[in-house]
């Protein structure tokens, strides 16, 4: 068994940023394990621009954004293995991996950073009735076929779900000469970024039908048509509202699921809300020395936030192996998300271990206009920030200061909620 200080599972944006920050913090033996044939993760198929506005103050494409971090990994001579699948992570941080070249092998890691990203919710999990023909793709799979393999799935497209990849693919397929007939979204609001609705649908005259879903799929061998219907406030289709669209392609953009099979097998505790690990202020899971960041932790809206979060995971993993991450004294403050705030990352804070500033990220469960993000220390409201609009498709954040928390010894819980006034 070989030994590494830090093993990073996944060489996408989270894994890359975590590796770079751990190296900057002085960690010598870092290994990134990546299952694809190159680093960069899903960014490699995201050839549209709009990445990096926060981090680099310029608009980059996905591959360009990834390359900014890859360059640093190369310059710092951080080790990585490609075409390598991690098969298992044990509770005592033994990572089992496999590839053509190296066979199956085990690595003892001082710390593990989980950066596996997420996957798309497939058709099967949506229980859409109808036939099961060819021509139905998750939006990301279609994106890979078009942008990486160079093949078009079809010419007439219907999209179910308005997640960002679906919106991006509406534009991409249009630019490739396909006709995108409609985007149907089950919820009364889009799951994607406002800017993507404007730039990918509105600019191309593609209709977005909110509170609509697919109720039938036709075509025994290949997709020939889908039927879309309006849904009531419980998500049930309303009879009489059906509209049939002939099409040869149905793209699904109905949510992303953090890919945590390895984490679960290792015994990492999961949040039922995010489907990602429950982490403390150091982005550490319930297993000491196992950290999580990026979309495996919670699905992000912008990659910039992934990079930032992953940098913190890298720094904290470095502290852990250097013995600088003090043992938890068991007096963590719990962060509770309620009244419209669906979850927070992290979900506990140990003031002794936190940095001077801690960004707490969360998402809201519905669209809120002219409402307030409030933070309570026990029962005392300490923050009350007005937001013109908040939507489930966009992440929100509050910043907690160590100074302020230190002023409140004995503080048990911090509550994040949305208030109308």
């Amino acid at each position: 068994m070989t030994n590494y200080d830090i093993v990073i599972v996944g060489g996408g944006p989270a894994g890359l940023a975590a590796a770079v920050s751990a190296r900057k913090a002085g960690v010598d033996k870092i290994l990134i394990l990546e299952r694809d044939k190159e680093l960069g993760g899903i960014l490699n198929q995201c050839i549209h621009n709009g990445f990096g506005l926060h981090t680099f103050k310029e608009e980059l494409t996905g591959p360009e954004y990834a390359y900014r971090f890859m360059e640093q990994v190369f310059d710092m001579k951080i080790e990585y293995k490609l075409n390598t699948m991690v098969m298992d992570i044990s509770e005592d941080r033994v990572v089992t991996a496999m590839s053509r070249e190296d066979g199956m092998y085990q690595i003892k890691a001082g710390a593990v950073i989980l950066a596996m990203g997420c996957r798309e919710r497939p058709r099967g999990a949506l229980n859409i009735p109808g036939y099961r023909p060819a021509g139905i793709f998750s939006a990301g799979t279609a994106q890979r076929l078009v942008n990486i393999e160079g093949y078009m799935p079809g010419r007439e497209v219907v999209i179910l779900g308005s997640g960002d990849i679906g919106l991006i693919m509406a534009r991409r397929m249009t630019l490739e000469g396909a006709k995108v007939k409609v985007v149907a979204e089950l919820m009364p609001y889009s799951g994607g970024l406002k800017r993507n609705i404007v730039q990918c649908l509105d600019d191309f005259g593609i209709p977005l039908k909110l509170s609509h879903t697919v109720v039938d799929i036709e075509g025994k061998e290949h997709l020939t048509a889908v039927t879309i219907a309006a849904v009531d406030n419980k998500g049930k289709p309303i009879p009489g509202t059906e509209e049939r669209y002939t099409c040869d392609t149905l793209l699904l953009s109905c949510g992303l699921i953090p890919e945590n099979e390895l984490s679960r097998n290792a015994g990492v505790e999961m949040s039922p809300i995010t489907s990602g690990p429950i982490v403390n202020e150091s982005l550490e899971t319930n297993i000491p020395g196992v950290f999580a960041c990026g979309n495996v932790l919670h699905v992000h809206d912008l990659v910039d936030y992934v990079s930032e979060e992953a940098s913190r995971a890298g720094e904290n993993a470095a502290k852990f192996i250097n013995g600088q991450l003090s043992e938890s004294k068991g007096d963590e403050i719990e962060i509770i998300a309620t009244d419209g705030a669906r979850y927070t990352v992290p979900s506990t804070i140990d003031v002794g271990r936190m940095d001077d500033k801690l960004t707490v990220r969360f998402r809201v469960g519905a669209v809120y206009k002219d409402s307030y993000v409030s933070v309570y220390f026990d029962d005392e409201r300490v923050m009350h920030n007005k937001k013109r609009i908040m939507a489930p498709g966009e992440m929100e954040q509050v910043i907690l200061l160590k100074d302020k928390l230190a002023e409140k010894p004995g503080l048990k819980k911090i509550t994040v909620k949305i208030e109308a006034e």
Partner: protein, 486 residues
């Protein structure tokens, strides 16, 4: 070429008959309208090996069910496919229906089912804690089992092929006539086939095939009885450990809940008589109905963990009995029609019965060098790290994981493509290896599997299909790529 026997249909019945006939000196050919074996009813069913207490006492269905069940251990060992006798339970939730369990028990004993036992509420709950709180008692059948229906069908067909049986795919029968010499002429979309004997194993289409040769007063009408199913994530595959049935009704054995032999949980089927013999579409009503019914007998069903839903068609006929035998007035034309549940369980016995029938009719002699066993696509999951490394050293493709959900490597996929009657489509690969059958439902691996099919079979991307016919995955090159190629 003049064949001794032509079998119409490469489902589980046709494949079982083909394997049995491959024991003998005979030229046998299987005609299949789809691009692979196991494309109809055989691929979409409960994947259950029934004990045999359901079918009417004295029926052919009862006899073949019990015999098929008995044959399954040896057959699955010989063909190297997974089979588990997990035991089944028929659960009674109404006190007044407890007598029904006794009736089933008696019928089972008459049918020759071994080990049947009536359980009290307490005994049933002890064996299966997630049964409904309303359970009043249960019939326990230890011989009930679970199997991979794809692998059973594929393995029998593959073994038949190794022993000399021809398979003609994408070959749909259009018309059948006999000549003055008593030979059968089968017209297909791929030319004419001539044979001394014909076996009709055409599943939901077995009525149409029968009616091509039968007398005017001897017509069969197969009613496709659709069953919707939900398949749940392996995470909840142990919600029950036995196959849980409700008490049967006149529409069938009802909605069962069972682990699958691969560790998923299956819930289904509904029973809806339809007209379209290709109507394998699920409906919202069907899925809702089965969820409601399954919850009657098993509590806290984790239906949020559904990874896919599908529908299959049972080849139902009004008499609810297998129709096996020579067609009246059509000498040497053997029906194997109306094979509905328990057809999968009965298939080895159906093969044996039809094989023996033809052996006697034709005076066939046994092949000297018949190969009785085959090895399945390897499952490296059970290997130690050392064994796995040995394997990867010999063939590095086993180190390259293609399907992350089911941990299927390129080595297994290459084996599935290059073995006899190998996979030619994404579904062909899926049914032979499970690549794409996991929780992401091929979102991750399908582009990778396409690349392998493209490379290994020399298929252009545009011709790679999901499951043959017009089920092409991609249509054409992107504009950019077209430009680049000019």
């Amino acid at each position: 070429m003049l064949y001794d026997v032509i079998i119409i249909g490469a489902g589980v019945s046709g494949s079982a008959i083909a394997r049995e006939l491959s024991r003998y000196e005979a030229n046998v050919c299987v005609l299949e309208k789809c691009e692979d074996v196991c494309e109809g009813t055989s691929k979409a069913n409960s994947a259950i090996v029934h004990a045999g207490f359901d079918a009417a006492a004295g029926s052919l269905m009862a006899k073949l069910n019990v015999r098929g069940n008995e044959m399954m251990d040896d057959l699955c060992r010989d063909l190297d496919i997974p089979f588990k006798r997990n035991g089944s339970m028929v659960v009674c939730i109404h006190k007044e229906a407890l007598d029904g369990l006794k009736d089933l028990y008696d019928r089972g004993v008459t049918n020759g089912v071994k080990g049947l036992k009536i359980l009290t509420r307490e005994e049933a709950l002890e064996m299966e804690p997630n049964l409904s709180d309303n359970v009043e008692g249960a019939l326990y059948a230890p011989t009930g089992g679970i199997i991979c229906p794809f692998k059973l069908c594929i393995a029998m067909a593959e073994n038949a092929n190794v022993n000399g049986v021809d398979f003609r795919f994408n070959t749909q029968v259009e018309n059948i006539t006999s000549d003055e010499n008593g030979l059968w002429h089968i017209r297909t979309n791929n030319g004419e086939y001539v044979s001394r004997y014909v076996v009709n194993a055409a599943g939901v289409h077995s009525g149409e095939i029968h009616n091509m040769v039968s007398k005017a007063d001897d017509k069969i009408e197969i009613i496709p009885r659709r069953g919707d199913y939900c398949l749940l994530d392996k995470e909840v595959g142990n919600h029950v450990s036995h196959t849980i049935f409700p008490q049967p009704t006149n529409l069938g054995k009802g909605v069962l809940v069972s682990p699958t032999v691969h560790g998923n949980l299956i819930v289904g089927p509904t029973a809806i008589d339809i007209e379209n013999k290709e109507g394998t579409n699920t409906t919202a009503e069907g899925i809702n109905d089965l969820i409601a019914k399954a919850n009657d007998h098993v509590k806290n069903l984790p239906m949020r963990k559904v990874i896919t839903s599908f529908a299959g068609l049972r080849a139902h006929e009004a008499r609810h009995e297998f129709i096996i035998g020579e067609v009246d007035g059509a000498p040497h034309f053997i029906d194997c029609a109306a094979i509905e549940s328990p057809g999968l369980t009965s298939s080895p016995a159906i093969g044996e019965m039809v094989g023996n029938m033809l052996k006697d009719m034709m005076g066939l002699s046994a092949k000297a060098n018949w190969i009785s066993t085959r090895k399945d696509v390897m499952n490296p999951e059970n290997l130690t790290i050392e064994e796995r490394n040995e394997l990867i050293k010999k063939n590095p493709a086993y180190g390259n994981i293609i399907c992350r959900c089911e941990s299927i490597s390129e080595g297994e996929i290459l084996d599935a493509i290059h073995r006899p009657l190998g996979a030619r489509s994404l579904d062909g690969v899926k049914r032979r290896t499970r690549a794409g059958m996991g929780r992401c439902q091929a979102g991750f691996c399908s582009p990778k599997t396409m690349e392998i099919l493209h490379r290994e079979l020399g298929l252009p991307y545009e011709e790679i299909t999901k499951s043959g016919g017009r089920s092409n995955i991609v249509l054409e090159r992107t504009k950019n790529q077209k430009g680049g190629n000019q």
